[in-house]
């Protein structure tokens, strides 16, 4: 309810006809709960700049656990002012209260004057509120009012046992919570990360150089904390909070745990340079947060006395850098798999996720080509007898005379995956010495004509 509406004598829950009668030129718009929720979510994302412990509170409230965060924003009063100003930028009219427990703050902001309650004074402040602040069921509230208990103080003065006997245990708990006697933590919107460092900037920044400088600074701080805990990060996330309330998060991954600031900074630089939609600073970022999303134990390493460089670390670094720049689907490692279908037998997997794999398959199979076409490309082939290799074939408008051939190597389709005709593979060499891997799909005599494909090229 905005102050302007309140001045006209409107109240929430008023019937539309009554409202129209009181204010004839009232503009009516249909309620848009999804839009409201989206807006609230955006505010919530932006407000995670104040604390990682932020959660939505009903359809029209936010609740922030600012324990240990207030000093970053000039104390509790400064933090509250900034929150109100930022909400104003979203076009919202807000009330704010700060108290020792979430329930007390909620009661104070919705049924009381709001504002900051000094430490330890929660009970005193809440006692002045009307009994509605307890937010019990309507029937229970009515019963309390009828009994003459009009304020929270009146309820607080009664023994809890009597209250629990009349209204149930839940009501008694509720009273304790609102009074700040029992402390329940909020469930945050995003679970806090193991290591979070923040930088609130006096002046918004927008150039890449400034952004990287701030990140460098944050990484230095984070690596000190990680070192103290004997941890290394695998996933780092930078959150850029724009002045106008938008938040952009950029994540980098490393192949193994690290707390080496310059290395991670280089990954960020690569990632930022390769973003499909580049980082849009708008009027600038006024806060940057670095969170180490995933950590692993990382003991301090002893450098060799002869200072022999650790090549595997260099290799991991290279994989991380290339994955950051080209995407992890572009940097690949081989992973053998136990299947006979050639296109599935050797898989390329992202190198920063997979570990080197030794091919320990025992059986010997005929040679495989160096290059594989996926999917196989159709060719026109001419074979003599059934099961004999092709005499000649035509691929990409070039006729190849087969001089040497080996085969067939029969590979049955994996019927448990999808029904597929049997393939007969031939390794053939043409007159010029080029070697191809051809297969015939299907058998002669089947209802469907067998078709020929080229599947790979031998060197």
């Amino acid at each position: 309810m905005s102050p302007a509406a309140a001045r006209l004598g409107l109240t929430a829950g008023l019937a539309l006809a009554d409202a129209r009668a009181r204010v004839p030129d009232l503009v009516c718009l249909p309620a848009d709960p999804d839009g409201d929720a989206a807006l609230l979510r955006q505010v919530l994302t932006d407000f995670s700049r104040f604390t990682p412990m932020a959660a939505a509170d009903g359809p029209d409230g936010l609740i922030l656990d600012v324990t240990g965060c207030a000093h970053l924003f000039g104390g509790e009063a400064g933090l509250m002012d900034q929150a109100i100003i930022r909400a104003g930028w979203f076009g919202l009219e807000v009330r704010a209260a700060l108290a020792g427990t979430p329930q007390a703050a909620r009661a104070l902001v919705r049924f009381g004057p709001g504002g900051i309650t000094p430490e330890g004074q929660d009970r005193v402040a809440v006692r002045d509120l009307p009994v509605e602040a307890l937010e019990l069921a309507e029937a229970d509230l009515q019963a309390l009012r009828r009994a003459g208990l009009k304020t929270v103080a009146a309820v607080d003065d009664r023994p809890r046992v009597a209250l629990a006997a009349r209204f149930g245990k839940a009501a008694a708990w509720k009273v304790d919570r609102v009074l700040g006697l029992e402390d329940i933590r909020i469930t945050p919107f995003r679970p806090p990360d193991p290591c979070v460092v923040d930088r609130v900037l006096m002046e918004p920044i927008s150039t890449d150089d400034d952004i990287l400088r701030v990140l460098d600074d944050l990484l230095g701080e984070a690596s000190l904390r990680l070192e103290r805990d004997g941890q290394g990060g695998r996933v780092f996330q930078a959150g850029f909070f724009r002045v106008d309330g938008r938040v952009r998060r950029v994540t980098v991954q490393t192949g193994r745990a690290t707390r080496d600031g310059p290395v991670v900074l280089r990954l960020f630089r690569e990632t930022l340079a390769a973003l499909i939609t580049p980082l849009d600073p708008g009027f600038g970022f006024d806060q940057v947060r670095l969170s180490v999303v995933q950590t692993e134990l990382l003991a301090a390493t002893q450098i060799d006395l002869d200072r022999r460089p650790d090549r595997s670390a260099d290799l991991e670094g290279l994989v991380d850098r290339l994955s950051a720049r080209l995407g992890s689907e572009a940097v690949l490692r081989l992973q053998p798999r136990d299947t006979h279908l050639p296109e599935r037998a050797m898989r390329l997997v992202a190198a920063n996720l997979a570990h080197p794999h030794r091919d320990d398959r025992e059986e010997t199979v005929p040679p495989r080509p160096l290059h594989l076409f996926d999917p196989p490309q159709p060719v026109e082939a001419l074979a003599g007898l059934p099961d004999s290799p092709p005499r000649r074939f035509r691929w990409r408008r070039v006729q190849h005379e087969v001089v040497r051939a080996e085969g067939p190597e029969r590979i049955a389709g994996e019927w448990w995956r999808k029904p597929e005709p049997t393939r007969d593979y031939y390794r053939v060499e043409d007159a010029a010495g080029r070697r191809f891997w051809l297969f015939r799909q299907g058998l002669y005599g089947d209802p469907a004509q067998p078709r020929w494909f080229i599947h790979g090229l031998f060197a």
Binding site: L334, P342, L370, H371, A432, L457
Partner: protein, 252 residues
């Protein structure tokens, strides 16, 4: 070095070095082909080598030769193979099982796929400069503008400074002066057939067009012996049998 093949190869190299057949200098590597190695005196490990396909259809052979060179140069080091997506549509994607058959260890291979030539060269330079690798093979498509003289010089410089072999495979290249130490042209060659008329070991016609260290250009037909990880003469039919017989008295 758990892999017996690798250990055997290391021993073989040591022996060759003792006999004076292989370059004793650690900055050089050879093809494992006695006659060619005698002619060339080995290749510079810390340099850029260019391999070009004779025709568009010889791309696989050129890649094979480049991977053979890389295997010789890298020894036990990791090989990175960088391909352009364009080459992948033309000649297929690198196939793991085929690499294993080529004598390479999948645990010591890394693939990088890039969209354009510019990022391929950047990735190649980054790989060379990491100093963590044995060899870097770059398969580039056609004649992109990004492959300027400067870009090639940067690759050569990276190879020299971090002592990593750089091998550039080009599908169609105009012969131009460049910083490459050697330039090879590879065409597929009919293999020596096995008894039942099956294609034998991969055979290649290898032409050395340019060699900055002086040895004269030449042309050879050789085959790749993946089990020994070396190039060998195609003509020596008895090549497989003689050493076995010769070893017998020593082993007894």
């Amino acid at each position: 070095m758990r892999d017996p093949a690798l250990r055997l190869e290391a021993l073989r190299r040591r022996l060759a070095r003792m006999d004076g057949r292989a370059p004793s200098d650690a900055s050089r590597f050879d093809l494992g082909h006695p006659a060619v190695d005698a002619d060339l005196g080995g290749l510079n490990r810390c340099a850029l080598h260019e391999v070009q396909a004779g025709t568009g259809a010889d791309l696989a052979s050129a890649d094979g030769f480049a991977l053979g060179l890389a295997a010789r140069a890298a020894g036990t080091g990791v090989i990175v193979w960088i391909v352009q997506s364009m080459t992948a549509t033309e000649a297929g994607l690198p196939y793991g099982a085929g690499l294993v058959d080529w004598g390479l260890d999948p645990a010591r291979m890394l693939f990088v796929r890039t969209r354009d030539a510019g990022s391929l060269l950047a990735a190649g330079e980054d790989a060379l400069r990491s100093g963590a690798l044995g060899a870097v093979v770059m398969s580039i498509w056609a004649e992109p503008r990004a492959l300027s003289l400067t870009a090639q010089r940067r690759l050569a410089l990276g190879a020299r400074e971090r002592r990593t072999a750089a091998i550039l495979v080009r599908s169609r290249a105009a012969a131009q002066a460049g910083p490459a130490e050697t330039r090879w042209t590879i065409t597929a060659s009919p293999s020596r057939a096995l008894e039942d008329g099956a294609p034998g070991r991969p055979a290649l016609t290898v032409r050395l067009d340019k060699n900055r260290t002086g040895a004269k250009p030449g042309q050879w037909v050789m085959e790749w012996r993946s089990d020994e990880r070396r190039f060998a003469d195609l003509a020596s039919v008895s090549g497989d049998l003689v050493p076995l017989v010769a070893q017998r008295p020593a082993a007894a």
